[in-house]
Subunit: 351 residues, 2 copies
């Protein structure tokens, strides 16, 4: 199969700018690797609220369900962040999309780029050689459990609920990834306090026997938050629930020195979505200074998912080439830097 | 008042070793500052389970309720950590104690010691001058909400619940502390997803008008986990709910380079408990290598609470003196180091 339907959701803030560089790069891939991408654009997030009142219009959902993969930019707008009373919020669109597409596994690879190591707030000897893959459960837990605020505003609650059925698929995915790598899987939880965490532990313990080569370790989330900074190299594959994954994976993103480089994939049984982990970064919107690399590397993850591993590798090499040769945006070099679109073009040309 | 009843709970692992250095130091304080401390010892944690079957025997709770302040060591034992099925666990004792004593505010000051800055995994320019005070709500939220595991082990849940009554007292405490400091308060939450977080935001927003000098800022917990590492100096006082506080404050503890230095206070209307933030560190038990400084600095927080500010200051100066002059345990200097008890004696002698 060499024909792919790609749903493109540029979203808010710098989303449109970085996504259009990904499209530029995909067009180059199509030419070189003899395949075809058909793009269908959809509204999403604050943009969608402004235009339709709905952060995830039905039309957008339809386009996504119909696609082979979704390329997503970013979501969020200060208009909503500064108003805790807002009833309709951009984030609801993203959460609904994850749920509707069944994107149960959010995957974030973390590696350091040799030429950028000194940009990290952490010391070189702590981070050099870090290579972590984080698996975060994405469609359950406290994000999707029952929520309630009493009408008088006196109390509120959020329920964190997990079933073994929700844990098993992502646990297998993480074990399988660990098998292909350094064979170490760390489950991050709070099993000394939470029933749901104990369910995660028991479920993973059972599954472990099917992966005798993989060493399964447990780490309390508070300790994990320390260990990620004290010694990130100790980790290979990390598996965790939705809320802990949100915190831990953003924390881990500081290791490499720029969040503008980090891609992610959200995978389900029938759909998949690819997005940079940076947010909408509204201050930079329209200035041509956003780093397109995270979006472009997310596109590489998409190519892997579409079973075009050679194209994915080529794209990653192109990115490395750009970085090693100083074709970077201002976040990576304040003296000598290029615009979002120049960096995108350089990468596309290399392909 | 110069007579104080101190409940002493040495607990597990290295707890007894570090607490006995605090007692040594307190004895010196009593002599110099003309006051009296009466110590009552209680069993707690794994030790208490082994001896009585109960991680918090009634006798211990009684001693604590009866005291002016509680000095606590550490809790936890690998026997329980490695057994997710254990019905009785050391941590239950600590959680029950917090609840029974109404210790709603866990306070953790974070400062860097000039002579130890290079021990941090973070770069000097990132951390030098960091001075943060974290207020973590300690007796509600997902720790104490309803928990359930279905008998077939197919699903489980934990409820995170907050009432405005639970938020208001600690919010005032944090605002008041910010007023005395750099007048900046950061509320860490996940208000784009959780109802409880939106309740925290609204409640703090209301209270803010009583503290016109304090600038109240909001930060999503995932972003906070990044910002603490990227630029810890941006923070003054941080306020957050129980689970986020557990993660964020342990994460922040890596900044200074040694968790063996960090104290904490847990404060309620009528009781207060002081403990080092490091855990029971079972591998070091009985070896005389544990760093007593965190426990001793917790004792300084206790002296402040008992309204003995001069004694507290003297104690802090003694600790600084010990560190600046190299009277430290092996975690801070692998070449030239002293035992737990030698460091404690040095600090006591200085007083
Ligand atoms: C925007 C927000 C709802 C989202 C989340 O918390 O999942 C984001 O932080 C992320 O990690 O993708
Ligand atoms: C031991 C554990 C229950 C406890 C907590 O999570 O509160 C500890 O991590 C702490 O922070 O004091």
């Amino acid at each position: 199969n060499s024909y792919f339907k790609i749903a493109v959701l540029p979203g808010d803030g710098i989303g449109p700018e970085v996504v259009s560089e990904s499209i530029k790069v995909l067009d180059a891939v199509a030419e070189v690797f003899q395949c075809q991408f058909k793009y269908s654009y959809g509204l999403m997030g604050a943009e969608a609220i402004f235009k339709t009142g709905d952060p995830l219009p039905d039309e957008t959902l339809k386009i996504c369900k119909d696609s082979d993969a979704v390329l997503f930019g970013a979501i969020g707008d200060p208009v909503f962040d500064n108003n805790p009373e807002a009833k309709v919020r951009p984030e609801q669109g993203l959460l609904k999309l994850r749920k509707e597409l069944g994107l149960y596994a959010n995957i974030r690879p973390l590696k350091t780029f040799p030429s950028l190591i000194d940009k990290s707030p952490l010391k070189r000897e702590i981070i050099e050689g870090t290579d972590i893959q984080i698996f975060r459960e994405l469609v359950s837990g406290i994000y999707f459990g029952e929520k309630f605020t009493d009408p008088d505003g006196k109390y509120a609650y959020d329920v964190c609920k997990y079933s073994t059925e929700e844990i098993i698929p992502i646990a297998h995915m993480a074990f399988q990834e660990a098998e292909k790598r350094k064979k170490k899987l760390t489950l991050v939880d709070k099993a000394n306090v939470l029933d749901t965490s104990r369910l995660w532990r028991k479920t993973c313990q059972k599954i472990a026997s099917q992966y005798p080569d993989v060493q399964l370790e447990y780490l309390f989330v508070d300790n994990a938050a320390m260990q990620l900074i004290l010694n990130p190299k100790q980790f290979d594959v990390i598996l965790t629930e939705n809320m802990f994954g949100d915190i831990i994976s953003d924390e881990a993103s500081v290791i490499g020195g720029s969040i503008g480089l980090l891609p992610s994939a959200s995978i389900g049984e029938e759909n998949a979505l690819f997005e940079p982990i940076h947010g909408s970064y509204p201050q930079a919107k329209g200035k041509g200074i956003a780093n397109p690399v995270a979006s472009i590397l997310s596109t590489a993850m998409m190519l892997d998912y579409l079973e075009l591993p050679e194209a994915a590798d080529k794209l990653r090499r192109a990115v490395e080439h750009a970085i090693e040769n100083g074709y970077v945006t201002v976040d990576l070099n304040t003296e000598q830097h290029y615009s979002t679109s120049e960096v995108g073009s350089f990468i596309a040309d290399y392909i």
